[in-house]
Amino acid sequence: MLIALVILYVVTLVYFAITERFRNYATLVGLQGWILMGIALMRLHGGSLAELLFVVVETLVFKAVIVPAMLFRIIRRTGINRVSRGAVSVFDSLLLSVAALGVSIGVTYYIADTTVNMVFFGVALYALISGLLLVINRRRIFSHLVGFLVIENGVFLFAMAIGAEMPFLINIAILLDILISVLMLGMFLSKIGAVMHDLDADRLTTLKD
């Protein structure tokens, strides 16, 4: 079951590379939240019940409910539904994503170590690279925001790979969640959308020498 969830997580990452609709982005972020909740439930079963409940509830509330809801709200408020000027085509983006998967597998085999769950490590690395590709390949600020959320989910998965025995580390990963959910999305929702109507990252270039 755990492996099935991990495979599903990889599929969501591949889908991020080929989709151009912002609604799909928001749906995929929500789906990743549910998958991570399932993974947390299975990985952390050895710890105390209170810690398990905290991690699972936080993952559910922030990653699976609040963050996707805020993303949908941003889409409704701004009226911008899709990536308009991608730096690379969908096909190239898919190729890059597959290459990222290959690199992740290669790196994982190279640094194989008994202290780390290598399946989680490899997928977490793939998530990190996928998030970076989203930030680099897309121009709209919304895509950058989603790219960061993908990176952040990768970090959470990475914490599962290494820190399953250390709930303290998982808890501080949750702090990062809260920072992002409340501050970045909140700011996007209340300020940037109102000032920059096309939400293009090219508009964010007034600060320069």
Binding site: I162, L176, L179, I192
Partner: protein, 466 residues
């Protein structure tokens, strides 16, 4: 004791938030800096070296930088009150609350004896600094805030990856620096290497060195100049302390030489970026921010050269904090007088504000490491170490880049002080008291270069040697 300090700060921030007017908002803020000074004196006198609340230790490194912040923060507060005379009550309160909470977060970083606690407080500094950067609520400040939060969050996430990798060497999940130092030698060297790399890259957004230095520049540009006096010094030092503590951990591992190479590369690249952009920029606040990149690059380079110059890195960071805070406070006066920070529009400042112009000249003298600046001692130690280790090519590169920095800083400062004409100035906007507050900080850095007691050298050696 530290919990009392944090709780007091939160209470005073709450009082500031509900204050009905500026005077009532100013009182709790002023009281906070008095409490901070009392906390510092009490800690140095009665609790030096003690561990409190499990996660905080009042060691020499923390106390040195906290002491500096205790001097710089009230100066920035005073100058800020004179600077923010046209702000609405809401903006004024947001500024003061952000400054107070930033001080508390930075203090948490200085005293944390635990890898994860350091990370948490550094994350908190992002929130507080965002409040200062967004202070003006203009499109540019919104852009700067968005970039600051985005890049800082990315940096913090990268640093978290490093913490996760370093946790593989932790015994029983204990991430305190002391335990990690004992167990790091038995860890997977590749994991320790990656952990150090990720942590340095992640914290570079706070330390304002290559690669994530850019947001520090934009933050200093968008924040009020007196706030930059804190962001570009105490916050940068928080990043420095965080990296130095991990450096001390890695020192005990077989990959220490590799870690030093990483620091040397980051230091030289920061110096290069600082030198190049100092030539290019046309804005006095950005000029000072790039100078921070250059100076923290030098401090990182000193760390990278190993224990021989590591004490000089701490001295450089401390001296730079005094000089840069004084310079930002002076620059705030320039901004008030001319209504602009554009280098090509300003001039004749010596006639407009003689004390301020002399302070700027002395500050840049100190910043470019001319005697009697305290930075002269640290940079002398850097070159002695470079020559001692026979790294001639690096010494030549550093000398060339430092020359470019000197030329850029002196050229622009001469233009500001002596160029005839310039933009019409409003002399009435200049606060002589704030000018002298900044002047005193600069004089302190110069005086430290002349009469630095032996006990300070011993403290610096103890900090970097264990």
């Amino acid at each position: 004791m530290i919990l009392g300090y944090i709780i007091t700060a939160l209470l005073l921030a709450t009082f500031t938030a509900v204050a009905p007017d500026r005077r009532m908002a100013r009182c709790p803020a002023a009281l906070f800096y008095a409490v901070q000074a009392a906390f510092f004196i009490g800690t140095v006198t009665y609790h030096a070296g003690e561990t409190v609340a499990q996660f905080f230790t009042f060691d020499g490194l923390g106390l040195l930088f906290f002491g500096l912040m205790t001097v710089i923060a009230p100066a920035a507060f005073y100058a800020g009150n004179r600077y923010l005379d046209r702000e609405t009550l809401r903006q004024y309160k947001l500024y003061n609350i952000s400054m107070m909470l930033l001080c508390v977060s930075i203090a948490g970083v200085y005293f944390a004896n635990h890898l994860a606690v350091t990370w948490i407080f550094l994350e908190a500094t992002t929130l507080c600094t965002a409040g200062l950067v967004y202070h003006r609520r203009s499109t540019r400040s919104l852009e700067a805030t968005w970039k600051y939060i985005f890049v800082c969050s990315t940096g913090i996430a990268i640093a978290y990856l490093g913490i996760l990798l370093l946790s593989t060497v932790a015994e029983g999940g204990d991430l305190s620096y002391a335990t990690l130092r004992e167990t790091v030698a038995s860890g997977n060297p590749l994991f320790v290497k990656l952990a150090f790399l990720f942590i340095v890259v992640g914290y570079s957004c706070k330390l304002e060195i290559f690669p994530l230095y850019t947001i520090g520049i934009d933050a200093n540009y968008a924040a009020p100049a007196p706030a930059s006096a804190l962001i570009s010094t105490a916050l940068v030092n928080a990043g420095f302390v965080a990296v130095l503590r991990v450096y001390r951990v890695v020192e005990a591992s077989p990959v220490f030489a590799w870690a030093c190479h990483v620091l040397v590369a980051a230091g030289v690249l920061s110096l290069l970026v600082g030198a190049l952009y100092l030539r290019r920029t046309n804005h006095y606040k950005r000029l000072l921010a790039y100078s921070t990149v250059e100076n923290m690059g030098l401090a990182t380079l000193m760390l990278g050269l190993g224990s021989g110059a590591a004490w000089a890195a701490v001295l450089h960071a401390a001296g730079h904090a005094l000089l840069k805070s004084g310079l930002f406070i002076q620059t705030a006066q320039v901004g008030k007088a001319y209504g602009s920070y554009r280098i090509n529009r300003l001039g004749d400042y010596m006639r407009v504000n003689r004390a301020g112009a002399v302070a700027l000249l002395l500050g840049v003298l100190g910043l470019t490491a001319f005697p009697p600046s305290v930075l002269f001692i640290s940079e002398l130690a850097l070159f002695r170490e470079l020559f001692g280790q026979h790294i001639w090519w690096l010494a030549i590169v550093v000398v060339l880049l430092v020359c470019v920095v000197m030329y850029s800083l002196w050229g622009r400062l001469a233009r500001l002080c002596y160029k005839p004409g310039g933009h019409p100035a409003d002399r009435a906007a200049i606060s002589p008291a704030a000018t002298w507050v900044g002047f005193v900080l600069i004089l302190l850095a110069l005086a430290a270069g002349v009469c630095l007691p032996q006990s300070v050298f011993e403290l610096l050696t103890a900090i970097t040697a264990g």
